[in-house]
Amino acid sequence: MYSRVVARLEKSKPGANTVVLAFLGFCIYGLIATAKQWHGPYRSGISLDLSLAMLPLYATYSLFRALTAYLLSLSFTLVFGYLAAKVKIAEKLIVPLLDIGQSIPVLGFLPSLVLGLLALFPDSNVGLELACIIMIFTGQVWNMTFSFISSLKSIPKELYEMTENLGLSRFQTLLRLELPCSATGLAWNSLMSMAGGWFFLTVCEAFILGDQNFRVPGLGSYMAVAIENNNTQAIGAGIATMIGLIVMIDFVVWRPVIAWTGRFRLSESNDSLNRNIPFVSLLLSEASVFKKMAEFSQKFFRLRSEKKRAMNANSAILLRSTKRQRSEQPIRISLLSRMGQMGRTKGLAFAIKSLVALFVALIAIKLYALVSVLGFGDWQEIFLATGLTFLRVIGAVILGSLWAIPVGILIGLSPRLTRLLQPVVQIGASFPAPMLYPIALAFFQLMHLSLSVSASLLMLLGVQWYILFNVLAGAVGISQDLRESFKSMSVSKKSHWLRLYLPSIYPSLVTGLVTAAGGAWNASIVSEYLIYKGEVLKTRGLGAMISQATSQGNFSLLAACLMVMAFTVVFFNRFVWSRLYETVETRFRFER
């Protein structure tokens, strides 16, 4: 239905103009309202008005926070992504930082941000607002930067040689070649990032830190209060507003932007299919992110990977994934070795390395001091909780796969269904699942499910979309030739699924599973510990421990939990997922 509405809106030009004008007016209104709010005197626990009339204002506040955070993410991406792609030493620093940042749930940034920024701006709302924006930023930025880095690195060497031969400056090259080449990937990842930013809106806009209750007016805090007060009408209105907001942004911002970036495609041969099914390009850019991650992890664990690489030297994945870079590598290496001969860079690299080592050591000491107060019992509890959360994450991913794989394939096999349902999936994936938790919880309580089990189902609410999303993209790409050949051999239905459909979608399925598992870990902080009908519901788990440590201001426990979670997620990305991804890439990826 949504797609039909959009299609109708797109057809009626005057209507579209009205929408654009209205949006412009709305922007001006939003800017003024936001300025007023920022300028206002500092209040820590503002009371929110749950009346419907306030919703547009609150939604505006939230939207402007998300957009500001997005602009921050974009700037961060352009600066640090460019550095990482261009400067070897910067890459070695930035990429692991991105990887770790990605694995720390938003609550990890909360205490230091809030306390620090409140100390900086004691008299106005600026500190709290900034803290909120930066928290949203931490939910948005990582995949954008990864995408930018991988886009820059996959630009063909010949094009770089062309700009060099034409005498273009670095800035001209950026403008003419590098930004256009990364536009498509950036646009799709921006869309994903906005969704990621929305996810923790209820947490970012309303949270308890120590004995203080912090709130900034917005849609997220509105929902938080509505849930706390069990105000059904307000919850419904909040959900409806959120959907409206997402649809509006999709229509006013992302559709035009993605249509526009469609012209900046390097491969002209990309068939119409890819152009019509946006998920495919998203998937492709994402896939390269994971390929990158696999490469990075190899670099980082060189000892281990040296052997593996040698064994794999023949395998298709390395050939394919390094094919592009291989041509580019010699230049860089020879340049570097030259610089090395001069000795200057070696000294510089050494200086930077020792600085980094010092910095890391300092952090380690600080962390140790923070964590050392924890007793054996605390650690025991943390590891037990990690185990439980791990089971829930696995549960959510398995349950999600159970329905999303067949449904995704069925939709993807039919162009008509794809056209119809793809925008719906997109909205579903963008909607912040925590806002649906109260409804889901009411249902689970009816079913007499304990939170220990239903927490997994709550995670599922958010992460199932990632699986569906990617399976759909994979299914759309199932070779038409193979389908026809299977048909002509009159192969059974079962064989169709086992021998053709499932193997064809494996690569994109793995991408979906990785994203889903990462999302589930993050979602554990809101699904294992939540406020429902005015009371705190919690169950044993790492997410619950993080939430509780934050709200109690127990920073030692928080630091320990975050370390364990970040370590677990990074560990799984590097040693389980990236390996799985490599195997799947080698065996199941069709040559393009």
């Binding site: 040689e161 062309m162 031969n165 034409l166 005498g167 390097l266 064994m311 023949n314």
Partner: protein, 435 residues
Amino acid sequence: MANDAQTALIEMKNIDQSFVLSTGHKINVLKDINLTLMPNEVLTLLGPSGSGKSTCLRILSGLQIPTSGQVLRGGFALCRANPDVAMVFQNFALLPWLTVSENIELGLESLAFAKGKIKEKVRQAIDLVGLEGFEEAYPKELSGGMKQRVGIARALVMGRPILCLDEPFSALDVLTAEVLRKEVLSLWLSKKTSIQSIVLVTHNILEAVSLGSRILVMGINPGHIRMAINNDLTYPRDEKSGKFKELVDDIHDVITQSIIPDVPEWIPPALAESVSESFPPVSINEVIGLVEWTLRQGGKIDAFALAHALRKESVQVLLMAKAAELLDFVDTPSNAIVLTDLGREFAVADVNHRKQLLHKQLDQLHIIKLLKAKLEAANHFSITRHEVVKFIQEWLPNEPASRTVDTLIQWCRYGELLGFNADKQTLYLDLGEPN
């Protein structure tokens, strides 16, 4: 055409180039390259893939800094992109989101001309290459030939004295390539452009002879200049003329001798056991194809005629011949490929008999004997691919081991001599059942 009184446009002195692969292996791409580009000449770098001719061009144009040696421009060492060089790329290097004229304008972007001047220069360039009417078209709307015209126009518009062409016609079909070749030549002869000299990189002997005033024939492992040939035939050159054909044949001989020498290198009997056959990177299907084709042609065929008929690089055909010779299926007196009795038997055999013959021939190869001995001594009669690569590197130090191993595995699989498990990446003795 080179004139001693004139000063050189570019000089390359003692250039070496090596790359370090991510595996840590170092490969030498160029060794001791010395060349001088004079005004008013078309210098052609002719060689098979892997002879480093493109790398040579990139060093000359300052896009690649050599491992050692110097590039001199006007007597001074070059340390950045050469501002005298305009480059035309094999795959055009056009930006698909810019129109034809915008792509050409890119060549002027660094020069800070006034708007009107830019438009004028672009119009001239478009006029020179015959792109009128396509100014507002996007590259994806153009055929390959038209795209390369845009690439050439972009190079011309910069007004630089040296035009570097990196396999400019090899991504085009034969007829289009022919037309563009003539156009580039007449542009240069007409002196309507700023181009004084052209450096052309190609693997096509006819192209080299019809354009080049000086032809540098390059060899492989590592890339080096085998021979410099002056070509004084007057432009435009007639491919049918006797002198043209003579020159082409001479170059054929130079290349053939480097790959399949008539007189094999003499090896002292005492050392015979320690030297192995080199293994050309040719798939077994190509060998079969070559043998069948030769049989159809009455058992004898000229290598270059075959290359022409197959539209393949002549070097690739010579390598195929070398592979077939290694298996005793053919002999290669000078440029000819002649089927042996065994080759005849192989050509008419069915699949199973072919496998038997191949099995027998492979079994006699020194390197295979060594490898089998190693496998027999190994645990479970199997070793990893990595070990095989290391082993091959010891025995055939002058060849890219990884590629050689791939070829070897493919041949031995077909001959049912050795098996390979791609999952475990292990090579094992084919005892009828994989383990």
